[in-house]
Amino acid sequence: MTTPDSSMPPPAPAIGPVGWLRQNLFSTWYNALLTIVLVTLLVPLVALILRWILAEARWGVVTANLRLFLIGQYPFEEAWRIWLSLAVLSVLTGISAGIYGGATVRTLATWLAAGQVMLGALAAVSGLGSATTVALVANAAIVWAAFLAVRWRPRAMPRRLVGLGWLASIPISVILLQGIRGLPLPIVTSNLWGGLLLTFLLAIVGILLSFPFGVLLALGRRSGLPAVRVLSTAYIELIRGVPLVTILFMAAVMLPLFLPSNVRIDQVLRAMVGITLFSAAYVAENVRGGLQAIPPGQVEAAHAIGLNTLQTNRFIVLPQALRAVIPANVGLFISLLKDTTLVTIVGLLELLGIGRAVLAQPQWFGAQLEVYVFIAAVFFILCYTMSQASYRLETALGVGTR
């Protein structure tokens, strides 16, 4: 028998940079040839790109219009309300990261802080005024402060309060952003909201609302009640058979025709509803895949210990089904984030729409590349954050390992 004493250490893995090169890049003659060809092609290309980024690009188009890119036509003197909403989000995220301590929430918290610091730095070099930078960097600090405070005194913050805080944060943010009669907050109608602010709002609301709605639809599609099943199936198939643009048009143009003329539904709200209804059908199909993967024995065992249908779904079926479809759902939410750019078509100026508006100014004629590279970078950071958080979540929940 092998005792712990007689076990040997593994062979030394590192053989130095030269060894690494030989092993990975020059292991055979054709591998070496491939390496040389690729390097001769890549070096000039990278040099070209770097020269453009560092020397040739007119980044002035971004810095001069940063206010538009960030918040659209939201009045700048009221922008503190946006930063305050972000501060609420920062506190809640920091506290949640401290309480739950999971890698997923911590990743989101880290990126929320980092993102705000990046925006703060951008604001500083763009001459948006030091107040903006201070507010954004302070928000980033708030994320960490809240995290550390909860870590220091975990008992001081009951979990139920955090849940309530998250629930309350949505109306609080809306009231803050939109203003309310009777408070000393001037109303800022939502047609002035734009840029990253609008992209962010559409995506978050779309994700938060379409997920539960989609889960209900998926359960409905498998329901034993024929009426529920037929309605759910019809809804899912109908929505999936129609492009998002059509739904946005319906919401923006057709809906007002059917409503009495004195009923006005906010344009942004209509876009949010359209995106949510659209995304929910896709969430439902993803979740249905997860539900089908649950062996029937699980439901039988749950019934055998006396759980009713509702309890069986809540405690046995959904926890297993949802964790199996995390990767698919995050992929869906990433495309939802990118699909928010389609609201340009109904006249809302989210990040991409603002980009096009900026390019319409004569002094920035010909700066398309700079604007689109900037917008692409912002979207990349947002999407990358989401996919990183989902990897952490998969690991934490052990997808595929149990």
């Binding site: 024995g297 039988e300 019934h303 055998a304």
Partner: protein, 254 residues
């Protein structure tokens, strides 16, 4: 079909089945089963595969619906009334061939889920009771592991503890050892034997003839959806009345 005037009332046994029929599509899988089980009785059901024995015990807690005949459990008739089904399921524990543990819950959570959610027991009380049950089936040290981290025998013992946690009056076993590696069968049978000795009413579908001989009060041979023969183990093993029983026993005893 046997004459059932001798066990006419539902009070005659804790389980009373009369003329139970079941079809899967056109396939007639249960063809008039009559059976009465007294409280504390241990009944072993055996027979070739496809003979309807699993389907029969699954009708008793309504995992399968019977289409003709009647089933009474502890005086309650099994109908489509959802309250009757819930009441009957709360009196019956079931152990499955494939264990069917909940893979996203630890062993202890598997055991406490029913008591907490159905019996509305306080969590600490349920966990205390759950640990006692895990001790009874001999694996208290595995309480916080997930099913995938346990061997087949350990998983089946957790499944037995999970069923017992609802404090059932009847336990149904559906081939509890068929999916186990040979060296793990005895640890599960030991638990079942103790349960039988403690006075639990048990219906076991199994081909473990050693277990049947030692523990069963009665053995029932199913074939093609009918009861071919029933009787105490010595009679079944030493003096079976039907040729079909002899033939089947010789096949599984080698």
């Amino acid at each position: 079909m046997s004459d059932h005037s001798d066990h006419s009332g539902p009070s005659a046994g804790i389980i009373v089945c009369r003329d139970v029929h079941k079809w899967f599509g056109d396939l007639h899988v249960l063809r008039g089963i009559d059976m009465t089980v007294k409280a504390g009785e241990v009944v072993v059901i055996f027979g070739p595969s496809g003979s309807g024995k699993s389907t029969f015990i699954r009708t008793i807690n309504r995992l399968e619906e019977h289409q003709r005949g009647e089933i009474f459990v502890d005086g309650i008739e099994l109908t489509n009334d959802i309250r009757n089904i819930a009441a009957i399921r709360s009196e019956i524990g079931m152990v499955f061939q494939q264990f069917n543990l909940f893979p996203h819950l630890t062993a202890l959570q598997n055991v406490t889920l029913g008591p907490i959610r159905v019996r509305k027991l306080a969590r600490d009380r349920a966990e205390q009771q759950g640990m006692e049950l895990l001790e009874r089936v001999g694996i208290p040290e595995q309480a916080h592991k997930y099913p995938a981290q346990l061997s087949g025998g350990q998983q089946q013992r957790v499944a037995i503890a999970r069923a017992l946690a609802m404090q059932p009056k009847i336990m149904l076993f559906d081939e509890p050892t068929s999916a186990l590696d040979p060296e793990m069968i005895s640890e599960v049978l030991d638990v079942m034997r103790e349960l039988a000795v403690s006075g639990m009413t048990m219906l076991c579908v199994t081909h473990e003839m050693g277990f049947a001989r030692a523990v069963a009060d009665r053995m029932v041979l199913f074939d093609e959806g009918c009861i071919v023969e029933e009787g105490p183990p010595p009679q079944i093993f030493e003096a079976p009345a039907h040729a079909r029983t002899k033939q089947f026993l010789s096949q599984i005893l080698h």
